[in-house]
Every structure is written in structure tokens, then in C-alpha cells.
Point group: C4
Chain length 201, copies 4
């Protein structure tokens, strides 16, 4: 697998890719699910009590979608990947680290959605996730080679660059109004909602 | 895989189905298990203290069965599926979202099983789960084609339609008595307990 | 797969077994791991504070071993299984339900290890786990046939019967002394610690 | 599989290895992710409140890296393994037990990073993890044989021995200053950060 000259990937390399997928899927499945543990039950037993949990629920929807998008893109990315190097292994773990911070910032925003610092922190975590994903694609392209299928599929990665730019802008705007930040994050999510067709074909 | 003309599914499509199954299984395994974290230990050390946890335990049994039924039906559904489109991917994630709300409504009902709003909310989440599952089957039939094995197997989906109807009726009844709602939800669970033979053969 | 006449299992049946294994593994992996969430951190920052968590830690060790034994036996059982019927599916889910109660009774015992009711409840859950496992083996033997490899391997299931007997005895003894109950449960665990050689060969 | 004379591993043995990998991956994926549940949200809504969570975040980074290193090394170790004996099964479960204690000691250190006992306990758990991993490699080498690929690859296991030595030294140093302990643990992590090339080739 680490043969630096060979490009072709045998069954052993496929097993390697499968296990990286399986571990990443496991971590992302736990991340996406434990966020619901942060959703507190309403304090009383009426719909009014439920309504007070609405901001927390809405940010949960955004975070669930956010992690779902990463799972989906990660899925297509690894499908186009044929070899796993040490750099791919570690940049993948690095991505999982930043994704693992999503539940705790989701909870913070859910408790105080009107404040600036939580919204800015949420946006910074989203930025770090996007940067970590970009780093992973670089490691994969370096392993697979510039002429590989995955390199061609990623192309100029316009959506990825645009996301990073929006996160950079959205972070300081949280101190003007956190709702500006949330609006921009929702816009990015909608943009990604269409699966990454570059790799899907 | 996304070749719009081909119907036949090669090994790559099978791998694709497998990974969607694996991620969904992971999420459902976490959902079904973290519900137990919502079960508080009894306040004291006697069987009387344990007995006060009985309503929470009973609703846990219902929710466990509920998610188990979805896992089982989802399992048979994907076994009959040969191709994964973007729409299947996203409707599947949408189903997982609604299933992920089961633990928090279970906890709410467990804390206040005699009140109307928690029971109605539980029923609404069950309704959204059923609608999301129906949406997923539509996306699969659209991808596989009307003449496919999965389309024939689903047929008129009588059980699915009946479940949705019962949930619609059970929701407002929670304000007459929440126990009416629970009774209807148990009845639906019993109806589904028999695995979906349409797809099992 | 559900062909009632055929005994041989093709690749489709193997995939079926694999997915049941994967889901069960997922649930057991979460059960065995979330138990650690029930371990509270020591109240202060000294070893004395840590020592007060010792009963909770010891019962965690027992429960971890307990679930580990089930995972190991379940693993060997399904390896010897070639076909999954509806009854196998549901008795397997039923086993997972009783195993899912282990974390909450572990927490209860950890908080009040000297009291009778928690120890008795722990023993009752262990009993239900053992009965559910026996039910699963029956469903598998019925599906595979009396002359199958798995039926021969299970034989008279002496260890299983003995475990059930000990749990029945250990439960009321909790009201004489809970430490009698714990002692018997540890003895059963030690007996099972040797993997189920009947199915391993 | 347990044939004591045969060295070659057929498809059944590979399936066996795969399932051990899958269960271990599941447990490690949950361990690495639930640690984030121990990260409390900041008490207020400002960056100052966030800053007070910094020690907890830093120890979370260390623990995440720590478990990630084990996952990575375990991954390479099992890839070089062709047969699973009972001893491998149990020493693997034993390793998972010690890894499962990482979240709770992480939380304890996060709450009181300046105290000696939490730092020493963290170091002891790290030591037990390292010893359990060594035990697992011994069980594998015994099963595979001294002349096997995995035995040659492990060689004298210099890094493993050095880690154990550092943990032994770092534990009592916590009572001089816990930051000495943390510094040594970070140094060990950095040493392991480079994947285990012995098994990667």
C-alpha cells in the first residue's frame, strides 16, 4: 500500500479504505446522535415550555444538517480514494476532532442564541471544520497524484473556498448581530445540500 | 452509479448501499442505546423507588421497540435496493433526523406521562418518522423504477398509510387522555411487530 | 433466504448475517462504552475522593466484563449461524433490550452498593439477559434445524442453564447480603470467561 | 480457525479479524466521541467564560490524540494479524476496558488541572493502556508464531517500552507539579504521532 511507485490499488488497499470509512462513519454517527443529548427536555409539561426550547431545536437542526453534509461529502471523497497514506490517516483524524466540537458549541448556542460570543465560536468551529476538510483533500490528492480521478473531481473546489470565505466573514458579524451569522451559516448549508456531484459521477 | 440509463448495479453500487446501511445502522444503534441514559436511577435504594421509575421504563420499552421496528424495516428496504441516488441519501438522512428526536421526547414523556402536551409531541414525532420513512421509500422507488423489485414489494403500503392515519388521530386525543394516545401507539407497534414480509421474501 | 426447504446459505444470506452482527456489535459497543458516563468524577481532587468511587468502579468492571462475555458468545453464535429468520431478528433485538438495561442498574448499584434492592434488581436484569440469550439460541436452532452445526455445538448448554440457576438463587440472597449476590455474579462471570469453545472450533 | 497446526488463514479467519476490528473500532469511536460530552458549555456567554474552559479543552485535545494514536496503531496491528485466538479476543477486550476509562479521567483533570491526584491518575490510566496494548501484542505474537510477519514487524517494540517507562516516571512527578506530568504525556503522544511504520509497510 505504501509502495511509492505503484498507482494501482489491490484488495488490501480497498480493505484499508473501508476501515477508515468505517471508523469515520462510526465517529460521525456518534457525533450526530449525541447532540440530541444536549437537547434538554422542556421544563414543564405544556407547549409553552416546548416553545422555549425552539432556539435549541433550530440550532440542532442546523448542526445535524452540517454534520450530515460532511458525512455525505466525506463518503463521496473516500469512494474516489484508492490509497490511504499516513498523512491521510492523520488529516482524517484531525477533521474528526474539529467535527467532535460541534455538539458542545451547539449546546452553547442553544442556551444563549442571542449572544455574540457563542455565535462567533460556532462560526469558528465551522471554519476549522472546513479548513480540516480542505487539508484532508490535499493529503488525498498528494497520495493519489495530480492526475488521479479524485484530483480531477475536486477541481478548483469552488464551493469549499467559498464556504471558508463566508465563515471568515460570518465570525466577526456575530458581534453586530448573531442572527447575521446564523443566516450566513444556513446559506452555506443550503449551498452544500446538493451533494458534491463532482465526485458522485 | 449515477448513470441515468443503466439499471443494473455492479459491485460499486453494492458497496454504496452497504455504506449507507452501515451509517444508518450506526446512527440507529446509538439512538436506541442512548435512550437508556435518559432513564434516571431511582432516587432511593428500595423497590418503591424503583416503582416510581416504572412509567419512564414503560415508555422506554415502547421507544426501543419503535426504533427497533424502523431498523428492521429499513434493513429489509435497503436489502431490496440496488442503487443510491442523491435523493435517497438525503431522504435517508432526513429519516435519521426525525428518529434522533425519539430519545428527547421519550425523556419528556417519562417525566410527565400524565400530561397532554408531552404525549401529543411524542405522537407528532412518531408521525414525522412515518412520513420521513414514506418519503424515503418514494425516493427509492423513483431511483429503482416502477417495475423494480422494491416497488412491487412495497405495493400499496397499507401498513404505512394506516400508521400515519392512527398517528394523526392519536395526537389530538392526548388532550382527552394521554393514555388513549399511548394505547394507539402501542397498537401501531404491535401491528408492525411482524416484520415486513413484503420485502423479506 | 426464507426458502423453507433450502438449507444451504448463499452470499445473500451471509450478507444478512453480517448486517445483524454489525447492528448488534454497534449496540453492544455503545452499551459497553456509555456505562463509563455513569462513572461520576471524584468530588474533590485527592486520592481519598477517588477511593470513594471504588465501589462504582468495581461494579463497572463487572458490568464491562458481563457485556464483553455476551459480545464474545454472541460473536461465536452468529458465526455458526447461516440463516436469519424473523424470529432470530426479533429475539436478537429482545436480547439487546435487556442488555441495554445494564448501564442503568450498574449506576444504581454504584450509588448504593450496600443496599438490597439495587443488588437484586441487577441480578434480575442478569437473569433476563441470560433468558433472552437462551431464547435467541432456540430461535436460531429452530431456523437452522436440529441437525445443524450450531445445534450440535450448543449441545445441552450446561453453562447457560447453570448461569440461570445461579441468578435465580442470587436474587433473593441480596436481602441477606448484597455481597453474596455480587459474589455469585462474579463467579458466573469467571465461569464464562473461558470463551465458548463449543462454537469456537 | 483454532487449528493449532495450520498457519494459513482462509476467508473465515479474515472475517473473524474483520469483526474484531469492527467491534474495537465501534468502541473506540464511541470513547473518542463521548469525551466531548464531558466538556461543559461555558457558564456565561462571553469569550471570558470560554477561556475558563481552556484547560478542559486542552486535556480533551490530548485525550483525543491519545485514543486516536491507539486506534491507528491497533488498526495497523490487526491488519498484520491473520488469526484470532481466545487470548487475542480477551486481551483486546482488556485493552478496550482501560481505554474506556480515558473519558472519566479526562473529565477529572479538566475540572482540576492544577491538582496532583487527577494528573497522577490520568498517568496511571495511560500506563495501564500501554501495558494492555503490550499484552495484546504478546497474545497476537503467540498466536501467529515467532516467525510471523507481525512478530518481525513489532521487533523490539522500542517505542512501546519507552512509553511505559515515561508513564512510570510521570506518575509520581504529578505531586511535584502536574504540569511536568502533562508535559511528559504530550511528549509521548508526539513520539507516537508518526504512525507505526514497522507495520505500515
Amino acid at each position: 500500500m505504501n509502495d511509492p511507485t505503484g498507482r494501482s490499488a489491490g484488495p488490501s488497499a480497498e480493505k484499508e479504505t473501508n476501515r477508515l470509512e468505517a471508523f469515520s462513519d462510526g465517529v460521525m454517527a456518534v457525533i450526530i446522535t449525541i447532540m440530541v443529548l444536549e437537547l434538554r427536555t422542556p421544563a414543564g409539561t405544556t407547549f409553552d415550555d416546548l416553545r422555549q426550547r425552539l432556539p435549541a431545536l433550530l440550532i440542532y437542526v442546523l448542526s445535524f444538517t452540517f454534520v450530515g453534509i460532511y458525512w455525505n461529502n466525506h463518503h463521496h471523497l473516500l469512494r474516489a480514494t484508492t490509497r490511504i497514506s499516513g498523512a491521510v490517516m492523520w488529516t482524517n483524524l484531525h477533521l474528526l476532532f474539529w467535527l467532535s466540537l460541534v455538539p458542545v458549541v451547539t449546546e452553547w448556542v442553544g442556551q444563549s442564541s442571542g449572544a455574540g460570543a457563542p455565535a462567533a465560536t460556532y462560526s469558528i468551529v465551522a471554519l476549522c471544520d472546513a479548513l480540516a476538510y480542505t487539508l484532508l483533500t490535499w493529503a488525498i490528492v498528494r497520495t493519489e497524484g495530480r492526475g488521479s480521478r479524485v484530483a480531477a473531481a475536486l477541481g478548483s473546489d469552488l464551493k469549499g473556498r467559498l464556504s471558508i470565505l463566508v465563515y471568515v466573514v460570518a465570525t466577526p458579524l456575530a458581534f453586530v448581530s448573531p442572527y447575521l451569522t446564523y443566516g450566513l451559516l444556513v446559506a452555506v448549508a443550503l449551498m452544500w445540500f446538493v451533494p458534491d456531484r463532482r465526485l458522485a459521477s
